[in-house]
Amino acid sequence: MNTIRNYLESMFAYLPNTPDVIRAKCELGQMMEDKYNELINEGKSDNEAVAQVISEFGNLDELGDALGIRDILKEEQSAASHIRQVSSDEAEKYLEEKAHYSLFAGLGTFFAIISPCGVILAGTSGHASRTLMAVGVFFLLAAIAACITLHTYSGLRMASWNFLKLEPCTVDYATAGMINDLRRSTHDSTILQRTVSILLFCSCYIPLVILHMMIGKSSVDGAGVVILLFMVALAVLILTVSGSREGGYRRILSLGGSRITGNSSGKSDVVYNRPAVRVIMSVFWPTVTCLYLIISFLTFSWQISWIIWPIAAVVSSLIKSVFGIRREDFEK
């Protein structure tokens, strides 16, 4: 019975929450439950009963009129017949390729970060050997070349999906539902990956400090820096891959627009009705970052300049709550 309930939930997950829709869901649920109970009483197994109920459920499209959403759908179709419908196959292929090529791009960045390792090792090795240095420089250049190649390659391969950004596209409810399920199923591993990469970031200097304290030779410090770079590179790689997967889900779900509830489950958008505020807010965080860097570099008071961030956060929240309107209210 749970399977049936879940099935019904997933069918309705992306429909607007109107009384008509809720009523339809209750009614259909009742019918399915009645049918299921009778099939069980007839001696069918749970699996057989569930399979039969679901196969005889029908098609949600038929409910367009009953749910009062046919008008909305039709309007959208006629007003925007040029909107490209992204099929579930396409969506899956996009996600698959995005995962695939984000690994390429991630590896590219990985190489870029570790590229100075050879030079560092050669420079700190103590006996200034030209050959070692040459090998180091060669490694640097090779790593940068690899980085550029990998990035270009993955960018070119993903270029065929640019229409998702450039053209108006949309996905149907079933696809959005499928993607949202996928996204939910990878949620735990996304969090795990983020945690691991943050841990790597936070602990990357530890080997360097330990090596420095225990041995304290410059050659060993070089090794510590190399380990640090490797850890940072690994963390960035993990973040790139998991972030890009999540980004792919978001991209597909956002195609559904505001009518798809999975889309509004993210952070709520804030819009500003005063143009001046809108302009200020669009450059707010970049400006704060620049200010922070300029002030810090000019005064070298890093120990205190971080205070800019909490102040900026408070200012931004204040502006949001005073001038901002939540997107949902705005559309009403």
Binding site: D20, A24, L28, Q30, M31, M32, D34, K35, E38, D65
Partner: protein, 111 residues
Amino acid sequence: MGISSDVIRGYNDTIILCLLLDEPSYGYEISRKIRTRTADAYIIKETTLYSAFTRMEKNGYIESYPGFADNGKRRTYYRITDSGRQYYREKCEEWQLTKDVIERFIREENS
């Protein structure tokens, strides 16, 4: 070979109204009666049934009211209205006419 869903679509309302002529009923019971009466030849989909209910209720052919099942669960019952009976009679006449017309073109091929 299954039944033609195109033809039957125009007569889902007639089928449902026919089953409501004698007594009010609810969703699953109607679906079960259709199935048993046609000896499993026509199994109506839940979504088809529900959209027929809402459409006919909007047109005033049937009325829904809350009732309770034997086990005390809430359930929506439907009963036919006078205009529903009127509509049913019209549909029956329409079908007789349709059937007469189509039958004129149904014959064994001479070999």
